[in-house]
């Protein structure tokens, strides 16, 4: 059992929880994730670590309530426990001195980008961050990203904050204005990461995407998370989650993310109906 020791609502349906998991907190590295199971009938699902505190023995998770599992997680309060948390999983992001790097995060992906940006900064990189959300009210982790970035750009789809448009648009204009980057790291919705990859491709800038497919075991056993990278099938959970964004078949990733969407919708409807009945 993994107790929740802190909980905040960052935006509508976006929650942050700190969970007591001392062993994981001691081992966690940027870019890694955990698999959770909220209760005994729960499904296993991955969340990227947004932060951790080895001394305090906690890990920080940020999630958007989209389906039954994240709704259930969002219902838990301080003092409640998550039944299972396993990790840290996946290969850590390669943190080293590149020179000038750009970290591009969107939606709840901004929280996942934060430990990577922080670590890249700590080893001496010049860090430019671009973060975005659909609208101002959904923008998260702005202060955190500000602290670990040399420059921070914000975009919202509707223009309620910062640049009106997508993070990839901001990146495109930075590049056309003559900014140069030695590495670009991106994490967020697959469509966003695809757009980032297309922006950097003609510039031939090394671009790393942290992929977020469906997973079941999360430790290399099932292959639910397989994705084509450079024409080869990879398991995101053990071969990734970071891959060369220019080699990733994003269309396939997006299709596979949707594989159970009708079941997920049905389960969510039932869940909401059961909530109304109470």
């Amino acid at each position: 059992m993994y107790r929740i020791v802190e909980k905040r609502e960052l935006a509508s349906r976006v929650k942050l929880i700190k969970v007591s998991a001392p062993e994981i907190a001691r081992k966690a590295k940027p870019g890694q994730f955990v698999i959770l199971r909220v209760n005994h009938v729960g499904e296993r699902f991955p969340l990227t670590l947004a932060d951790w505190n080895a001394e305090g023995g906690t890990i920080t998770l940020v999630f958007l309530e989209v389906g039954v599992s994240t709704r259930k997680l969002g219902e838990l309060n301080v003092g409640d426990s998550i039944l299972d948390v396993v990790g840290p999983l996946g290969n850590p992001t390669e943190v080293k001195y590149y020179g000038s790097v750009c970290v591009v995060g969107g939606g709840v992906g901004v929280a996942a980008a934060y430990p990577v940006a922080k670590a890249l900064k700590e080893v001496g990189n010049k860090v430019t961050s671009i973060i975005g959300a659909r609208t101002d009210a959904l923008l998260i982790f702005e202060d955190e990203m500000e602290k670990c970035s040399d420059a921070l750009y914000v975009s919202t789809d509707d223009g309620t904050k910062g640049y009106k448009g997508f993070v990839s648009d901001v990146l495109r204009s930075l590049l056309s204005e003559g900014h140069s980057f030695d590495m670009i790291y991106t994490v967020g919705p697959a469509v966003m990461m695809r757009a980032v990859a297309e922006v950097t491709r003609p510039h031939k800038i090394k671009t790393i995407a942290s992929l977020n497919p469906l997973m079941v075991d999360g430790m290399g056993m099932c292959g639910a998370c397989r994705v084509s990278v450079g024409g080869k099938t990879m398991f995101v959970c053990v071969d990734g989650p970071d891959f060369d964004a220019h080699e990733v078949d994003f269309a396939e990733l997006i299709r596979r993310q949707m594989a159970f969407s009708s079941e997920e919708k049905m389960a969510l409807n039932l869940w909401e109906a059961s909530k109304r009945a109470v």
Binding site: V41, V216, G220, M221, A259
Partner: protein, 471 residues
């Protein structure tokens, strides 16, 4: 006519089973087990050979005539204890061991009729014991030594049970949320009920073993950290088979194509047959193809039927004679309506505009003349391509060894195929570290994994008592 009158030395007492039309609508166990009377009748067929060949076929050398004699005298408690001298998971082995290739293969009666149904008798005794209360064996006084067991499948559980009986402190690290390894996530409920696996695990725990779930060794702790920082004196690695193999043919990543591992994990571990009461979904179309012909393929095809598939095909590139699955499982699958397409090899999949599999292109095969080793290889028949409609495909062509420990333990000797290299005492190249089960042999049986867990436990005990690691 009573059962008694039907007794025939050369004919096995049949095992009651759920009828096919009924069982394909539920996940309950198919084989129902012998009654006391049936078990005794079957046991009475045993010739009690002076030089029993059955024992030589058993990887853990159970005194088979010994337990059968006790059984037919009605001394069930003593009979099960006789088995447990050698085998700590009899309810599992009685159900999933390939007895026809092991103990029963050598049975003298088998030369003229049916061999004694040793597996069914083992199962009967284990089930009898579970009903009547399990007695714990003696545990030796504490040695003060601590052993870490990595993986809680058949190899790990066996090693843990043996080591704790010898007085060592044992902690089992399991990466998933439930212990049991393949017994839990792989073998379906209708072949091995999870309540039985749970009872076997409870027994190991009552012996004094600690099981830590949600603990992936290699990530949470490395083997070196277990030895150096976490205070373990020895480690047993039983991490088993891991990543599923795919064929690498076009379209294999379409939606609706599962590895057998994913399919079975969803069904067995995550209980997706109870979706949406349980949260993990599964999607099974009307027409399902299962690629491969081993036990896992049989399990997957029979799960697919139970999940509502109208037509399930097993696609195999060789013929019935070469199928690696147990005959009993093939028969069960056929009774339930699984269709077998032999000498057929998938070469590509085609999907719809949303990326879901719709068609499978295959090529016909033929078998070559036997080569020097006597094997007949499958050879593609030119221009024999054809397509079949499928909306779900389950790829059950095998798995590779779990790679994580090998990758995170520098100096650990690993074979080309990814398995861990051990000597005749299950010792790895790393002092104090032993390995057994599928991680050493590649995919094999539950009982062979148990046999190696047991062998390793013996060797670990000797090492801990002498603290000598002779190269």
């Amino acid at each position: 006519m009573s059962n008694r009158d039907r007794w025939d030395r050369f004919k096995a007492v049949p095992m009651p089973k759920q009828p096919p039309y009924e069982r394909i609508r539920n996940f309950n166990e198919v084989a129902l087990g012998y009654s006391e009377e049936q078990a005794i009748m079957e046991a009475e067929r045993c010739l009690q050979c002076a030089n029993p060949q059955c024992v030589t076929g058993c990887p853990v050398e159970i005194d088979i005539p010994g337990f059968i004699k006790l059984l037919r005298e009605g001394r069930f408690r003593e009979a099960i204890m006789k088995i447990k001298e050698k085998n700590s998971l009899p309810a599992v082995c009685g159900r999933v061991c390939p007895q026809e290739d092991q103990c029963q293969k050598n049975c003298t009666l088998g030369k003229r009729g049916d061999p004694v149904q040793i597996g069914r008798l083992e199962r009967f005794l284990a089930d009898w014991e579970r009903k009547h209360g399990v007695e714990l064996p003696e545990r030796m006084s504490s040695t003060g030594m601590r052993v870490a067991v990595v993986g809680s499948g058949p190899a790990g559980l066996t090693a843990a049970g043996e080591l704790v009986k010898l007085g060592h402190e044992v902690v089992v690290f399991e990466a998933l949320h439930e212990p049991g390894g393949v017994l839990t996530y792989g073998i379906p409920e209708f072949r091995l009920p999870k309540s039985i696996v749970q009872a076997e695990i409870d027994y190991i725990k009552r012996l004094g073993v600690t099981i830590k779930t949600d603990s992936l060794i290699g990530r949470l702790y490395t083997i070196e950290e277990l030895m150096n920082d976490e205070g373990f004196d020895a480690v047993f690695i039983g991490t088993g088979a891991g990543p599923p193999t795919f064929m690498g043919i076009p379209g294999e990543n379409l939606c609706g194509i599962y590895s057998a591992n994913e399919f079975l994990i969803r069904v067995n571990l995550m209980k997706s047959f109870l979706f949406p009461k349980w949260d993990t979904p599964i999607k099974v179309g009307d027409k399902v193809a299962v690629i491969g012909a081993g036990n896992v393929a049989m399990d997957a095809s029979r799960c697919a039927l139970r999940l509502g598939a109208r037509e399930v095909h097993v696609i195999y590139r060789r013929t019935r004679a070469e199928m690696p699955a147990r005959r009993e499982e093939v028969e069960n699958a056929e009774e339930e309506g699984v269709i077998f397409d032999f000498l057929t090899l998938p070469v590509a999949y085609y999907g719809d505009e949303r990326g879901w599999v719709r068609k499978m292109e295959c090529i016909k095969m033929r078998l070559s003349e036997p080569d020097e080793s006597g094997r007949r290889r499958p050879i593609p028949v030119e221009d024999s391509n054809f397509t079949m409609d499928f909306d779900t495909v389950i790829v059950a062509i095998g798995r590779r060894p779990n790679p994580l420990i090998q990758q995170t333990t520098p100096g650990l000797k690993v074979a080309k195929d990814g398995t861990i290299i051990v000597d005749e005492n299950m010792r790895t190249s790393f002092e104090g570290v032993y390995a057994g089960g599928d991680i050493v042999t590649g995919e094999a049986t539950v009982i062979s994994a148990m046999g190696s867990g047991k062998k390793a436990a013996k060797a670990i005990h000797i090492y801990l008592m002498n603290k000598k690691w002779v190269k």
